[in-house]
Amino acid sequence: MYEAYALGALDAPERAALEAHLATGCATCAKAVAEARWLVSQLVYLAPEVSPSDMLKGRLLQTVRSEAKSSAGSAAAGVPYWLSAVIAALLLITVYSAWNAHQAKEELRASNERLTAHIQQERTVAQQKLAALEEQMAVMKRENAILIDPDSVKITLMPQKIEVPPLVAMCGPKGIVLTGQKVPMPAGDRVLQLWLIPKAPGAKPMPSMAVRPDENGWIRMVVTHAPASLGEIKALAITEEPASGSPQPTSAIRWVGAMS
């Protein structure tokens, strides 16, 4: 019966009965059937020997090579399609992330450059302010030195017009400090220029600093390069001059005070 079963010759009822028995796990019958299958397989040699056409081999190899190539190409040597898709997605994400990181890096670099430029600008402004403050402090120090110098003398410069208040100057070896209030604003961009009037007969007035009153009418002038000898100066005078000052007076004296 085992041989007939392996041959496929058993009718349905016999076949079902034997298979039901084999399903019980009978090792003896299972081995007998396995050997019977081998025996039946030997019947293939009863077929007359005939070779298939060469074209069949050619067609098969063409198909097989095409499928092998396609499989290697599309599935990356055995990698399934879905995994290729995942790899492609990861690659895309990686490229995007790299591009994103590059963009972020570029933005950060540009931001740093802007920040550095801003800091540099702020530092320049601060340095300028500091320099101005230092200059202002230096002027104040020089002004203070002049004011507290015992050799300095106070000079009152009287206005040529009665309605204009006088100016006050402290003159000494360290310089001249000139102050005033409610000073009329010169016309246009003209300035008030200080002149040192020599004692020597015929000597020309020596030009000094020029200022414009502030919006409150105040003026403050500190002259640190005073003449070598104040004893040779007989008076201080103020005239109105062009904006850049003038080497010699071009208008009438507005204020004047004699050295005492």
Binding site: R37, L43, E67, G78
Partner: protein
């Protein structure tokens, strides 16, 4: 004569055929070509004997080898030698072309099961080369009563059952069963005696 020969097992215990089939899993075309060269002749002979026409026979052989290529994992060397497995595959495919659609459907499950069935070659057969085995099988079956041989061939090459063979040969069912059973036992004993 068939060119296929039995080769000794390799160091891992697997036959050279099993090793070639494993290579198919890696899309090894040369392994496929080797298997084709070894077994296309015997497969074609079997299929042509069943379907009787060269055109359909080549189509079946093509299907068989493409199934081997695409589904080589179906072969499990632990369940038996490669050649009986390949012959079962080829025989089932060829018989399928002969059957009506309804009958094909009825037998489909059994055919699929056969591909996963255990096949054991008797110890006495393992050292017999393919050429000698073929000669011996033909000789032993040729010694049978012509009706007995015909009954076996109807079962193997046309897939007929005992009852169908009985009707075909117009012989009693019991006689047909005895012919087939005794004929296969004589074949088995004859092969055993050969070695």
């Amino acid at each position: 004569m068939f060119l296929a020969v039995i080769r000794p097992l390799d160091e891992s215990g697997a036959s050279p055929d099993a090793a070639l089939v494993r290579l198919l899993l890696q899309n090894d075309v040369s392994a496929f070509e080797t298997l084709y060269d070894k077994y296309s002749r015997i497969v074609y002979s079997l299929v042509l004997k069943i379907v009787q026409q060269s055109g359909p026979a080549e189509e079946v052989v093509q299907d068989v080898f493409l199934q081997l290529w695409r589904n080589s994992a179906q072969y499990d060397a632990a369940r038996g030698p490669f050649v009986p497995w390949l012959m079962t595959l080829a025989r089932n495919r060829a018989l399928d072309t002969l059957r009506l659609k309804s009958e094909r459907q009825r037998r489909l499950e059994n055919q699929t099961d056969e591909l996963y069935s255990v096949v054991v070659a008797p110890q006495y057969e393992r050292e017999l080369d393919e050429k000698r085995r073929a000669e011996r099988v033909r000789s032993l079956v040729g010694e049978l009563n012509p009706q007995q041989k015909r009954a076996i061939e109807l079962a193997y090459f046309q897939g007929l059952s005992h009852t169908e063979i009985s009707e075909e040969l117009k012989e009693p069912l019991g006689t047909v069963k005895s012919w087939i059973r005794n004929g296969l036992i004589r074949l088995r004993e004859g092969l055993r005696a050969t070695t």
